[in-house]
Amino acid sequence: MKKYLKLLFVLFLGIKSLHAQMVSAPGINFLKAEYGHTFSYTEIGRSFTGFRSVGFGGYSFNTGEGKSIEAEVAIVNQLLKRWNTEDSQANIVIGGGVGRGRTGGREGWAGTASVLADWENRRWHIMLQEQAVFVPSASRLVSTLMGGWAPYLAEYDEWAPWIYYTVQHENGAGVGFVHGPSLVLMHQDLLLELRVMHSSHGYHAEAGIRSLF
């Protein structure tokens, strides 16, 4: 029932499409969705090894040049490198996908590419991600930098709060840099995120969810 509720929550967010970029342990499914001001995406998939996952996903860009961009793709994600130490972990993950996309009434092949690098310990987390989407006669490159801090160290079976600050830039969106704080709550296999972001369009709320199941 818990799994169904999580999926319903994501559908409730109204995200139009799916995309994947996450690698877990073998045999674990993942869900990752973000509803933002300039773009939204959702990922759902399954890790077949601890270093590779396959999923379905998509992007929906809702700003820039007066026309929306949408793409739905099948994606493969590969954990290129992981460093494990006693108190920290760092990762480099790449992903690529092929599917269909549309913009301004044109539809055709779409492609995605992404690279993510992060480092975290129990108190701090920093992540840099580049996501590129190519659809007929248009493309988008989204750069995201996030830094997070845990006000206290919670255990796995407790709610763990994190405070993040995110800076994001989307080429062609026409809103400049989007930035703002967010509150992240983690509990076992569930992560919920609420952001208040600021751009040249003003303030706006964003939401995200991630889950392993």
Partner: protein, 120 residues
């Protein structure tokens, strides 16, 4: 497209239900206890990966993860064994490094409580 998403979600739910059915082991408190110390065990999703991975093993009846101690506690079923090389392989394939393994004589629950207390 909505139909495709509905199909994907339904399929994944069925997969999950199947996994749960195969993992409804009867807990056995009489088997051996194994305690692992794992490098890279720093976040909830790391703990979820490790926990779900070991929960799927037929030899394991219960798993407890403690982030503060970087510890994974396994309750084995009665008469079951989990060889050290297999344990190390499982941890590695899940994306982590096994730093230590021990076989404490105390019960699963008492070790679990001690780990919880030491984390406070």
């Amino acid at each position: 497209m909505k139909k495709l998403f509905a199909l994907i979600i339904t399929s994944l739910c069925l997969i999950c239900q199947a996994d749960e059915k195969t993992n409804t082991n009867t807990p056995s408190q009489t088997g051996a206890v194994v305690q692992l110390t794992v490098d890279g065990l720093v976040c909830n999703f790391c703990a979820t990966n490790i926990s779900k991975t070991f929960s799927k093993l037929p030899e394991v009846s219960e798993v407890y993860v403690n982030l503060a101690a970087k510890a994974v506690l396994l309750q084995l079923k009665e008469g079951k064994k989990l060889p050290e090389d297999q344990t190390k392989q499982i941890v590695t394939e899940a994306g982590f490094n096994l730093r230590g393994i021990s076989y404490p004589k105390d019960s699963f629950n008492s070790i679990k409580e001690n780990l919880k207390k030491s984390a406070k």
